[in-house]
Structures are given as C-alpha cells and as structure tokens.
C-alpha cells in the first residue's frame, strides 16, 4: 500500500515502439516481441521525472501513470493498419 503513482499500459493501444524502455530502463524492459514489461510496485520518487517523460513521449499514448482508476484517460486509438485488423469493420 503505497501512494506513489504506478505505471500502467493500455495493451490495446501499445504498438511496441519501445521508447519507454529507453527512457526508463530502471522500470521498463521489453519482452521478446518488443512490448513493455513493467516492474512491480510504484514509481520511486527519484524516477518520477523520467516516468512522466516516458508517459509524455509514448507515441501511442499507451503508457500512463496511474491516478485513481476513474480518471485514467481513455485511449482507443487504433494503432494497426487495416491489413492487420482481423475483425470486420463497419461497411462504409
């Protein structure tokens, strides 16, 4: 139970750019497909500036520093090209 903010990732928005792992290697590593693995626990005070930068610089707006759940911003931006989307789209 700590009040320090936590990193969260919206997995549906994340497209594996990997910027976050470069900016915050202390807390974020990449899996073998290039998607972020977040360290357990909150962001220590000494890393909060880097954490905010990683959030701000995420090209997919997928990385978040958690506030209370309800104020987490919604990102439903489609990040993959149409060819990779398998499910039907609404007909034009």
């Amino acid at each position: 139970m700590t009040d320090s903010p936590r990193l969260r990732v919206n997995p549906a928005a994340c497209s594996g750019h990997g910027n976050c792992a470069e900016l915050l290697p202390e807390l974020i590593t990449l899996d073998e497909w290039g998607y972020p693995l977040l360290a357990e626990g909150g962001v220590p005070a000494g890393l909060s500036r880097q954490a905010r930068r990683a959030v701000r610089d995420c090209p997919a707006l997928a990385l978040m520093l958690s506030a209370p759940v309800h104020s987490v911003p919604v990102h439903s931006v489609p990040v993959h090209s149409e060819e990779t989307q398998k499910l039907p789209r609404r007909p034009a």
Partner: protein, 452 residues
C-alpha cells in the same frame, strides 16, 4: 390484441416449475405442429406455462430479490447479478438514460446453451430483458444473438408477438453478433452495437459507465436474464430450492459425450460430474477405460484427469481448487484413444486466430504458443518446444485488454499437466492415440470476418 394474448395465458399465476427443467420447457414432438396455445415457445404458450410477467412495485425490488436469490452471471464469469444491476441503476439515475443488452453471442464453439435457450424459451429471455430495463432505469434494450437465419426469424417473430401484445415497456432492437470467439466480451459487444468492430477495449471506463452509445450499459447473458425472469415470478426462495447454498439455482450446460453425441441440459449447481457424464465417469471400466480427460468450462477452461473429474461437481467451489471453473457450462469428455495434445493444439490454433489482434503480447504470443503446441502434438518435438510454451505462457498472462490470453493460458497449462504422459510418449516419437479424428468442435476454415 393484447387482451387476446393475455387471455390465452389462462388464470395467473402459473405454478412454479417443480424440479427440472426450469428454463427450457420439455418439447414433446407433438408440440411442434400444434396450435399456438400448445407451442410452448410462443408468447401464449410461454404465458400459459409460467403466468404473466409481473414487474416489482419499485425498480429496486428486483435487485434485492436477485441478491436474495444469489443469482450470478451465467455467461461464464459468475459475477453477482445484483451488483451489476445496482451499478447501472446508479449510473442511470445520474445520466437519466441507460441501455440493457441480452447477450446471446455465444462465441464459444463448444457451447450451444444460449442458442438452445433462445430457441426454446425466447420469451423468458425477453421477459428478463424487460425486468432488467426496469430495474436499471434503462431506456433502450438490445437482443444480441449469434448469427443464424432460423434463430433470427424466431427471435424477430417473438419480438413481434410481444409488440402486438403490448407487453414490453422498452422497445428491443435485434442485433446479430459476428462469428467471433470474443463477440460476447462486453466491450467488444458495445463496440459492435455502436457500429465498430467487435474487438475488446481497454476497460476504462467500464461499460456500466460508458457502453452502448456512451451510456451506462448492462450486459447480461441471455440465461442470466431468463433466470431473473423466473426469480421475478417465483421468488428467491423458490430459486434456492435447487443448487447449493453458496451457488444456488440451476445452470444450462452443453455436454459433449465420449461417443460423439452432444446436447444441452439444465443442472442444479453442485451436480456431480458423474451424473452429467454417467457412462464416461461412472460406467463399466470408467473412468480410465472410457475417457482420456474431461474439459470443463470451455476453451478458456481447463482439462481435468478422469479420476479427478469423477470426484468433482458442477460448481466453482468444487472446481476452482482443481484449477477449473464452471464457466458457461461446457463439459467435454475426450474419449480414451484420442490424443489430448492434438486436441489442445487444434483448439489452441483456433484461439490464436481469434485474438482480436490488438495487444502485442496476445497477437504475438498466442500464435507462437499454438505453433509450439502443434510441434508437441507431433512426433519428436524439439526439446525446447515445451520450455518455449511455458515461457510464452508466462509472458502473455495478464497482458491483454481482455482475458483472452489468460483463458488461453489456463487451457494450455492444464493440458501440459493432464497430458504429461502423452508429452513423454511424443518425445519418444510415439502417440498413444488409436483414433486421430478431431473431437472438439472448431469452426472450419479461417475465422469468419465478413462484415455484417
């Protein structure tokens, strides 16, 4: 018109069904061609069987009754129904509008219970949808059901009968669900009804706050609504007469027998699995000579060894310690003589293709795992293949916007435990199976992706 239908129902109220079945009336062959009064699926037949739909005097009445009944969602997650009702009702009070959806998408290929219920008791589901609308203060209602020409015709007919009888307070719009494993996931459902793709969303905010048309949305499985309609008529005490104290009532189950037959049945929670699969788990030579394993809870569920399954019952209290759960009531007895690894690999490939393709760990990890499972199901897999599956399984767990990767991993890991002897045999280049025909149902060909 309305008077005619209600008069045909006879003097209310009808006696509550004693014993089983409660949900889908037994249909004698003679019923099929008879007039509408004896056709139990027609509105008149439905009202004759169960009596008229009665709304509680105050909207909160049903929420309290659902809580007293201990009703949980029958779509698989077993979430307490009264909590969902109360959450949407609370949002609807602020927003003045809300949506209710009867979810009959049933994307699970091994499940047939929602389609059977919609076919056999459409009006019970639609009663439940109206009651849920009243309880939450919803102003719009949707019936979301799997594709199928005959089923659609029947459901549209049922909606017309109700409109003619002036029975419904909230108009119901019928929407066909796409053929996708995840079509019934509630954020995918909301997206589809909103005109988007049926893909799960990162659940912030949850659909009970912002779902269909951005409104507070209640999504309940069709069976849950049917159970709610019975509770509204006959009360929580009647509901609790079957089932266990912790998990009251009944649930529909889709049973796949070892002889290849499958059917939908209604069973009390807590029914021993030996009673649901008697020949397989309790017959002569059972269970060792009759079944290789039992799949419980569908393709997000778990394989159980026959001896273990024979000691368990259809309830989460019994199944959870074994790593399984009742889910939406799918039970499949894989016959002795089949290869559990081949079945797992085939279903795993299907599930990997059914990933919505949004979350990196899922759309990368599931095909990798499925590929390695295919190798393990063949002769002399690389030594590394099993370690790969285990590593990737850890990497995808908990890293999707929905629970697809988690359910997939549960299914796969249970296979690696239950089919350990087969893994060893395959490593030595042998398969103990004598029959290699596929057993578990998987839709043929690539996943259907045609637009609506």
């Amino acid at each position: 018109m309305s008077v005619d239908y209600l008069a045909a129902a006879g003097p209310p109220p009808a006696a509550p069904p004693a014993g089983l079945p409660r949900l889908i009336p037994a249909c004698a062959p003679a019923d099929a061609g008879a007039d509408h009064r004896s056709d139990k699926q027609s509105l008149a037949g439905h009202l004759a069987r169960l009596g008229p739909l009665r709304y509680p005097a105050r909207p909160g009445g049903l929420i309290a009754e659902a809580e007293a009944a201990g009703l949980t969602g029958r779509g698989g997650a077993a979430f307490p129904v009264h909590r969902k009702l109360a959450a949407v009702a609370g949002q609807a009070r602020e927003r003045r509008r809300a949506v209710v959806v009867a979810n009959g998408a049933e994307g699970e290929p091994a499940s047939g219970k929602d389609a059977a219920l919609l076919w056999g008791a459409p009006h019970l589901v639609l009663d439940g949808l109206q009651l849920a609308a009243q309880a939450t203060g919803a102003t719009e209602a949707f019936l979301y059901a799997r594709r199928g020409e005959e089923l659609s015709r029947r459901l549209l007919g049922a909606l017309r009968q109700r409109a003619a009888a002036g029975l419904d307070r909230v108009e119901v719009e019928f929407v066909q669900a796409p053929d996708a494993f995840l079509a019934g996931e509630e954020t995918a459902l909301a997206s589809w009804i909103n005109g988007g793709p049926a893909r799960p969303a990162f659940k912030q905010p949850p659909v009970y706050e912002r779902g269909v048309a951005g409104l507070p949305t209640l999504v309940q499985n069709v069976e849950t609504l049917a159970q709610l309609a019975l509770i509204a008529r006959f009360g929580a005490g009647w509901f609790r007469a079957l089932g266990t104290a912790a998990e009251p009532g009944t649930m529909l189950a889709t049973i796949h027998r070892a002889d290849g037959g499958s059917y939908v049945t209604e069973a009390s929670l807590g029914t021993p699995l030996t009673a649901l699969l008697p020949a397989e788990l309790a017959g002569p030579g059972a269970p060792a000579d009759t079944v290789r394993a039992v799949l419980v809870g569908g393709y997000h569920g778990a394989w159980l060894a026959p001896e273990q399954a024979a000691g368990l019952s259809l309830s989460n209290a019994s199944l959870r310690p074994a790593g399984a759960f009742a889910g939406a009531g799918v039970l499949a007895a894989l016959p002795a003589g089949r290869c559990g690894l081949a079945e797992t690999a085939r279903v795993g490939r299907y599930l990997a293709l059914e990933s919505a393709g949004q979350c990196g760990p899922c759309f990368n990890g599931l095909p990798h795992i499925a590929g390695a499972l295919g190798e393990l199901a063949g002769p002399r897999p690389r030594r590394q293949a099993l370690a790969d599956v285990q590593r990737w399984a850890g990497l995808v767990t908990g890293r999707g916007a929905c629970h697809h990767p988690d359910g997939f991993v549960r299914f796969v890991r249970s296979a690696l435990t239950v089919f350990r002897a087969e893994l060893d045999a395959h490593a030595r280049g042998r398969c103990t199976a004598t029959d290699h025909t596929p057993f578990l149902p998987v839709p043929a060909g690539p996943p259907a992706r045609e637009p609506r």
